[in-house]
């Protein structure tokens, strides 16, 4: 992959010719937006009020760079489609990407850079919880709508603001979506193992609450220091009577976890349950069967078969990934699918909000925010993950989730958890709509 992703995208010519164009038009027409702009040709937006710049704050280097690559690619592809379809309200969409180095200080600086230097009117942001939480105060202060992708629930909770949104899951929705199913189907006695920092503890807290409410037993938590490479001491502490071992890790630590748990034969003694973040950007095949048999809560299932519709199919095609493992055709990278769709969808959502509210410039931000609060998105190429709502009060996305299991080195989806069910279980705990702008 080259660095061209960093350049503002404008799609001058369509390489796929008319077939592609017509599909896009149909696909977009199926979306939640009005259809008026579809008449506007791609060559017309040049005459309008100049491009609209949306910033993308991504982890291109550092610990999260295996995810960041896909966030960047999704944003670029989405921008290309939008521009191909006439831009936003007739104006060209420029997406500028800045690298956070997976480091909160750099991330916050890059957010300023996006807004102040590169003139981003809106920002779709980081999947790194630390970066995201360092960025929200900056975005709020600079009065700029900021979408985060990280899972720390505080971003749309105690540390949220009127400007901070998230279309994906957080630990709160993840627990509400998957834990009840796992409790019913996998077992009642739970042990939780997670990295010893806020994200892990947040998962523990939310899941423990759900399981205990359901009447299950949650054993003492096992927090693993972030710099651990040898997990055996922690795995050895998993009680014998455990029925479900719930784990949340990311990156190297999660590979180490699966490898070492596998080596110790834990998978044979108990059910292993986790969330998609644990295995993002990693193909089960690449870790040689270490994740075999593990159940995952995904929100955008890896195999096409789990959500077999044309939007998903087209998404896979555009992202140049295979329909089973999500592996890139030109490299051996595996998509971080349950998170990387967010920048894609956020761009389309912003497009909808801008067009619907008649946004022309900074002063019209309120209209965009009001559109976003409670926005409904429906299954389309703009929203290939599926139908979802952005709840007005807590600015959180409520979406379908899926339970998958790794079988024979590939994901197999066994259950869809509809967003309505999740919404019902998880009342908003914050209300930002009353906050002044």
């Amino acid at each position: 992959m080259t660095g061209k992703a960093k350049k503002p995208t404008s799609l001058a010519t369509s390489t796929n010719g008319t077939t592609r164009r017509s599909f896009l038009q149909t696909a977009l027409a199926g979306g939640a937006f009005g259809t008026a702009y579809l008449a506007i040709g791609s060559n017309m937006y040049a005459k309008a009020a100049g491009p609209i710049t949306i910033g993308h704050q991504a982890e291109l280097t550092g610990g999260f760079s295996s995810w960041g690559y896909w966030h960047d690619k999704c944003a670029q592809k989405a921008a290309a489609i939008i521009n191909e379809g006439g831009g936003i309200g007739g104006r060209e969409l420029r997406v500028v990407t800045d690298d956070t180095e997976s480091n909160p200080a750099a991330g916050a600086r890059k957010l300023r850079s996006l807004i102040q230097r590169k003139g981003a009117s809106f920002v779709t942001g980081s999947v790194h919880s630390g970066v995201m939480l360092a960025s929200i105060p900056v975005a709020t202060e600079l009065k700029t709508v900021y979408f985060s992708c990280g899972e720390a629930t505080e971003a749309t909770g105690s540390k949220g603001s009127r400007y901070a949104f998230r279309t994906g899951n957080d630990t709160y929705t993840l627990s509400g979506a998957g834990a009840p199913w796992a409790y019913e189907n996998l077992g009642k006695n739970w042990t939780m193992i997670f990295p010893d920092y806020a994200w892990g503890h947040s998962h523990h807290k939310e899941h423990k609450r759900v399981i205990e409410e359901l009447g299950g037993k949650v054993n003492d938590p096992i927090a693993v220091p972030l710099d651990s490479r040898d997990l055996v001491p922690y795995l050895a502490k998993v009680p014998e009577e455990t029925e479900v071992l719930f784990s949340v890790f990311f990156g190297a630590l999660s590979v180490a976890f699966y490898t070492q748990a596998k080596n110790m034969g834990l998978g044979e003694k108990m059910k292993m349950y986790s969330v998609a973040g644990t295995i993002e950007a990693i193909a089960p095949a690449d870790i040689d069967g270490a994740a075999e048999g593990v159940y995952f809560l995904e929100n955008f299932p890896r195999p096409l078969a789990a959500k077999d519709d044309e939007y998903h199919k087209e998404f896979i095609k555009i992202m140049e990934i295979d329909p089973v493992n999500g592996r890139e055709a030109t490299s051996d990278r595996v998509i971080a699918k349950s998170h990387a769709w967010q920048p894609w969808e956020n761009l389309f959502l912003l497009k909808a909000a801008i067009e619907a509210s008649g946004w022309k410039g900074k002063k019209d931000d309120q209209g965009v925010i009001e559109y976003l609060e409670g926005a409904k998105m429906s299954n389309s190429l703009a929203h290939p993950q599926g139908d979802k709502i952005l709840r007005a009060k807590d600015h959180s996305g409520i979406l379908d989730n899926y339970i998958s299991q790794v079988r024979g080195g590939v994901f197999e989806t066994i259950k869809r958890i509809p967003k309505e069910e999740i919404d019902a279980k998880l009342p908003p705990r914050f209300d930002f709509t009353k906050t002044a702008l």
Binding site: M1, R109, R117, A134, P137
Partner: protein, 361 residues
């Protein structure tokens, strides 16, 4: 030798050293003028973003300056300044978010935390020198890093602790707060400038000279009656103070504190900034911090793997400009100003040598 002696009457005959001093003076004034006018000048040239980068560079340069005070002026290489940075940062964040302190009290609290931390850690650490000192400073900072990580209800752990800025001043209805970017910039400028001024005064004072004496020759310093332990401790505490102020400012700047700023990598970066800029020079840290941050900022636009270049630049600086950028500028200036004078002096030295060589009676 006589050429060095001041020439009576005219100022016309300046030595290269004098010229260098003037040059450095001009450079400093230029730098100060730039920082003073940045919020107005910079947006005229580019945009607001660079104003906040400038502010951030000032803050980080203060952390580099704290490394510089210890390493460049006292001869102790600390790899744990992030600890005092973190203490200042958390002092402010916890003060505001948990204790509900006001702006100034939180600022003071942050500084007190960092100074207290430096006093405790320093009283042990300065018993050691060189390698051992460098390592124990990392060890201390790691201990508190892990402590902060475990106390996440208080510190927010890796995800950090964010807070809303309390107002600086309140006059009836009108509130002044750092949410005004220009005010924020000048607040940071004023505090950082005050710290540099303080550093400069300290270094000009008997205390500062004692530190330099210790750096140059601690044995000799002890033998003329300098209490080397106390001076090193004082230097350690002052540098902890600078790091703490930087941390407190950074907390205000980001409205946020996180343990990730306490990790040894942050200390490492500060050391790199200080040494690349030029250890033992007042403005070296500003240069090093500024150049490296701007470099990263710009390079990252062009290449995914720009860190390769950053690493190479660091190594090349160390190899080809061991006295840092400040030293490099001085050397270049001296070369431009005095090609002839230097040659003359060299030959004179050789003459003296040959005189010495002659057998004596």
């Amino acid at each position: 030798m006589s050429e060095i002696a001041p020439v009576d009457g005219g100022k016309t005959a300046q030595t290269p050293e004098q010229k260098l001093r003037i040059f450095n003076g001009v450079l400093s004034i230029g730098l100060i003028a730039f920082f003073l006018t940045a919020p107005y000048v910079v947006p005229m040239i580019t945009n607001d973003f660079w104003v906040s980068v400038t502010a951030e560079i000032m803050i980080w340069s203060l952390l580099a300056a704290s490394v510089n005070l210890l390493f460049g002026y006292t001869g102790l290489l600390s790899f744990g300044q992030a600890l005092y940075f973190g203490a200042g940062m958390y002092g402010v964040a916890i003060g505001i978010a948990k204790f509900g302190l006001g702006f100034w009290t939180a600022f003071g609290f942050g500084i007190v935390c960092s100074v207290a931390m430096a006093l405790v850690a320093g009283s042990l650490a300065v018993r050691l020198t060189w390698h051992y000192f460098a390592i124990i400073t990392v060890v201390f900072s790691l201990i508190f890093y892990f402590l902060a990580l475990t106390m996440s209800p208080l510190t927010g752990g890796d995800d950090g602790l964010s807070f809303t800025l309390p107002p600086m001043f309140k006059f009836g209805e009108t509130e002044l707060s750092l949410t005004d970017p220009t005010l924020q910039y000048y607040f940071i400028f004023a505090v950082v400038a005050a710290c540099y001024l303080l550093k400069w005064r300290l270094l000009e004072s008997p205390f500062g000279r004692a530190l330099i004496a210790i750096r140059e020759n601690d044995v000799r310093a002890e033998l003329i009656g300098i209490n080397v332990y106390m001076m090193r401790l004082a230097s350690f505490v002052v540098s902890g103070f600078f790091a703490g102020v930087a941390g407190a400012l950074f907390a205000f700047f980001g409205r946020y504190a996180s343990t990730s700023y306490m990790f040894y990598h942050v200390s490492g970066e500060a050391v790199v900034w200080a040494i690349v800029g030029g250890a033992g020079t007042l403005l070296g840290p500003v240069l090093g911090t500024g150049v490296l941050i701007l470099l990263r900022e710009e390079l990252s636009v062009y290449w995914d793997h720009y860190l390769l270049l950053v690493g190479m630049i660091i190594i090349l600086t160390v190899i080809f400009a061991p006295k840092g950028l400040a030293g490099l500028i001085d050397t270049i200036f001296l070369k431009i100003v005095t090609p002839k004078a230097k040659v003359a002096r060299k030959s004179e030295m050789q003459l003296t040598d040959s005189k010495v060589r002659q057998p004596a009676e």
